[in-house]
């Protein structure tokens, strides 16, 4: 199977759950040489269709790019658009390197085919990091060929020519020819090798490093954009499914008489769910109602009578679980990182600060609930879905149908939000199974209740941190105890400890200069489908670490920014591996030598944010500033939140400042929008959202009880300061989330004197 979390590489390879993913994709794709090697070169002239469907001659030096004789430039977006702007961001890199006229660019979405396009699993803030260079090469290859063709025609040296605005130009003679007119000649040339390409200097970029509006903007504001829920073919029927309320439960019996009596209901079909755990590529047990329209299907579902065998998770109670984990972490666990001797630091300490940090389960709650359409014809299957991982969906559908993956085509619609939920193809497999069973084109529609109940939830967590301060006022010891069910448990029930990948999301890569560090973890059996939510374990881990550091600063009599700069110490690259016990720091699946943890980059964003936010200024009563800094997904972020708390404990957030170093900035407008949205997403986590489970079933049904932030409570002004950086570009989808919540909690302390140890914030009990 090609489905997995990017954080579970090790487990999956050991257990052979999804070793394929890392064999054929991600880094290997780049290792074999990107777009110009590894079978991704077409290097041929062929005919392509223009936007009016007419056949025209074209130049297609690689799978991402086609230039038509009429001047149209067609760029393939092979990663999924869920709101990050990647469907614009990667194509604009190609266009900029090519020297295209952006108004003549048409973007087409790739179907799921990793052999052809390279990795398509859109998560882990990977897209720009992984494809910046391949996209540049894709554009540069076409540019090279067009220039060669023009130079030959003009009888001038190729290096005197350039491209701009969709033309090849020769400055000395003033000659210029549009790309379209060069297609025939250029396509007769050989596709250049990577070493023949001269990539542009940063100063030559017209789009990279600037603001470009998203490609789908007009379609979105006019209601024409097509999301998963909008997918439609002739005669499409709608399926709504009654899922077993408890993970791993099964159908005992069901009565569909009342459901079938509802006008418009066509068929009722049971779905056999996966085992316990059901993994991500198998559906949950359920009974599906297929109807002429969504309303009939919903009513049919409500009328179903199902008796469940609820299975082994039917006693799960999340409140009790959190209490038990909080108890467990008081004792010693499995040591995962060790530096010096913490016990000595503790016995010699002048001050000891110790706290427990609790955080709940969360749901992704994309405003578009999962939805997928499947059609089976001539023993092949075609799917339209809002998926982050089309190749994974393709493999999962093929397996479920017993079909060769070559016979399955997965088309990717726009995603009405993703945040990690839509990288799991369970709902797509449901559509395929129902299409097969019913012989009808079926679009599965999850309701909000389905989405909150049957998500791959972000897991609850309990942590305890002990910080010691010595006689010299130095932070001498740091002991961090961590308990939560691992994401690996969703793939394999035997996994009961957090993986190196999960701990490496902020905990084991604790970068501060503390002589004695010990990090311990605990066994924890999962009773849910645990998934990954925008920035994953960084959320609770940064919350605990960064709020504790605020207390450390106070205990040392320092302000939080000065404390952080002091603890980061001298400029250097940190590697963590030598201190990890039987483990390795995955560094977001990148070589730590290539993408080091660099203290000076972190200090630079801290200094910048402090300056921009006016850190240290006197705040009126009831107001306060809070600070946190966190590196995730290789991007460095510092954040200062301003908060006001009134006498009724009403929290408002007038200002947020972020300073970020994400290497070379590609689309600055979308970088800002990711940070604006990340602050809002994190506000929900800090102040609003919690999933609780009783008797194995989620208690929240809809947005009335699972709350996310609304406009009046949202941060008012979000200022994003992007460091001008020459470093390799890294992602921005997830990095805004982790530092915001602790910065907000620290601001609440500054405003009220109340420390926050439990999420979401409740000032009446804090």
């Amino acid at each position: 199977m090609k489905i997995s979390s990017p954080f579970h590489k090790k487990i999956e390879q050991q257990e052979d759950v999804s070793s394929e993913l890392f064999k054929a994709s991600r880094r290997d794709f780049l290792k074999i040489g990107g777009v110009l090697a590894g079978g991704l070169v077409l290097g041929v002239s062929f005919f392509s269709c223009n936007d009016k469907g007419k056949k025209v001659a074209s130049l297609a030096p690689n799978v991402y790019l086609t230039i038509n004789a009429d001047g149209e430039v067609i760029i393939v977006a092979h990663r999924s658009e869920m709101g990050t702007g990647i469907r614009t961001g990667l194509p604009l890199i190609i266009a900029d390197e090519l020297g295209a006229d952006w108004s003549r660019v048409r973007i087409v979405q790739a179907e799921g085919d990793e052999k052809k396009y390279g990795d398509q699993n859109t998560d882990g803030s990977y897209s720009v990091r992984m494809f910046y260079k391949p996209m540049r090469e894709a554009g540069a290859a076409a540019r090279y060929m067009l220039i060669q063709a023009a130079a030959k025609e003009w009888n001038v040296a190729a290096d005197e020519c350039d491209t701009e605005n969709g033309q090849v130009v020769h400055k000395a003679s003033g000659k210029s020819t549009p790309f379209g007119d060069l297609v025939a000649a250029a396509s007769a040339l050989e596709v250049p090798k990577p070493e023949q390409l001269k990539l542009k200097d940063r100063s030559q970029f017209k789009m990279i490093g600037h603001d470009t509006p998203i490609f789908d903007l007009h379609d979105i504001v006019t209601g024409k954009a097509v999301f998963g829920i909008d997918a439609d073919v002739e005669n499409t029927k709608v399926a709504v499914i009654k899922h077993c309320p408890v993970v791993g439960g099964k159908i005992k019996s069901f009565d569909d008489a009342k459901a079938k009596a509802i006008p418009g209901v066509l068929k009722v079909i049971p779905i056999k769910g996966g085992d316990n755990p059901p993994t991500v590529h198998k559906p949950l047990s359920g009974v599906a109602v297929i109807a002429e329209n969504t309303w009939a299907a919903i009513k049919g579902r409500d009328a179903l009578e199902v008796e469940w065998d609820l299975g082994p998770n039917a006693t799960y109670d999340s409140a009790k679980e959190l209490e038990e984990l909080a108890e467990k972490i008081k004792h010693s666990g499995t040591v995962r990182r060790k530096r010096g001797e913490f016990s000595k630091a503790r016995s010699g300490a002048k001050k000891v600060i110790e706290h427990t940090y609790l955080a709940p389960h969360l749901a992704h709650a994309t405003i578009e609930p999962p939805s997928a359409l499947a059609v089976i014809k001539n023993s092949s299957c075609e799917v339209w879905a809002c998926t982050q991982n089309p190749q994974g969906a393709r493999d999962a559908v093929a397996e479920a149908l017993g079909m060769d993956a070559a016979k399955v085509r997965v088309n990717v619609t726009l995603l009405g939000g993703g945040f990690g939920r839509k990288s799991k193809p369970d709902f797509i497999v449901e559509a395929a199974l129902l299409a097969k069973e019913s012989g009808l084109p079926v679009r599965v529609q999850w309701t909000r209740e389905d989405d909150l109940h049957h998500d791959f939830h972000h897991s609850l967590s309990a942590q305890r941190i002990v910080a010691t301060i010595d006689a010299d006022n130095k932070l001498s010891g740091w002991s961090h105890h961590i308990a939560y069910p691992s994401i690996g448990s969703t793939f394999d029930a035997k996994v009961v400890q957090p993986s190196d990948g999960e701990l490496g999301l902020g905990a084991t890569d604790f970068p501060y200069n503390v002589p004695n560090i010990q990090i311990e973890t605990y066994d924890c059996v999962s009773h849910m489908r645990i998934g990954w939510l925008r920035s994953v374990r960084n959320i609770p881990q940064a919350f605990a670490i960064q709020t504790m550091l605020d207390e450390v600063a106070a205990a040392r009599g320092m302000d939080a920014v000065a404390n952080a700069l002091d603890l980061l110490g001298e400029d250097r690259n940190i590697t963590f591996n030598e201190e990890l016990i039987n483990g390795k720091y995955p560094n977001y699946n990148e070589d730590i030598a290539v993408y080091p943890w660099n203290t000076s980059r972190m200090k630079r964003v801290i200094e910048r944010v402090a300056k921009e936010a006016g850190w240290g200024k006197k705040m009126p009563a009831g107001s306060g500033l809070g600070f946190a800094a966190h590196r995730s997904f290789l991007t460095y972020v510092a954040c200062i939140v301003e908060v006001n708390v009134d006498s009724n404990n009403r929290i408002t957030i007038p200002n947020v400042h972020y300073a970020i170093d994400c290497g070379v900035a590609v689309n600055t407008d979308r970088i800002r929008s990711q940070f604006e949205g990340g602050a809002q997403f994190s506000t929900s986590i800090a102040l609003k959202s919690a999933i609780t489970v009783k008797n194995g079933a989620v208690e929240q049904n809809n947005f009335d009880t699972y709350q996310i932030i609304r406009m009046p409570e949202s941060p008012k002004q979000i200022h994003v300061h992007i460091i001008d950086s020459e470093e390799k570009p890294t992602g921005v989808g997830e990095p805004p989330v982790p530092p915001f919540t602790p910065a907000l909690c620290n601001a609440i302390f500054a405003a009220t004197g109340k420390r926050i140890y439990k999420l979401p914030v409740d000032l009446t009990t804090a």
Partner: protein, 161 residues
Amino acid sequence: MSKYSIQINGKTHEVDVMEDMPLLWVLRDVLGMKGTKFGCGMAQCGACTVHLDDVAIRSCSVPVSAVGKGKVTTIEGLSENGDHPLQQAWEKHVVPQCGYCQTGQIMNAAALLKRNPKPSEEQIEQAMQGNLCRCGTYNRIKQAIITAAGGSNVILNKADQ
């Protein structure tokens, strides 16, 4: 099943559906007008917002039988060429992220400006609080509404570099 004759975007549509079918599903499933979205089905998120006689309603919670002779306007009929001042302002400020909630946001904002052409920031917040955006585009929405209302261009999200 019952027959209804409903006015949508200036045209009359005849439909034969269950009387309790929410307007949302009549629009989406029966008439194929998919700009109006489904997010919660119980008037909690605003993704399904349309106008009934110029007032914003949550179409997921209004049965077709309650529409009567009222004039329904959806995102498809808000403007002929997609150039309503709000749509233009939305493009100017590049409001959408995933875009899914945005048609509901625009319809809700359009109803607001109809009854209050110059809303204050606080009035905007109150009027828009029924529309959720999980991507977190609230500040740009606010800015776009202020722009469309011809108001001062308060910079709510400062672009600094």
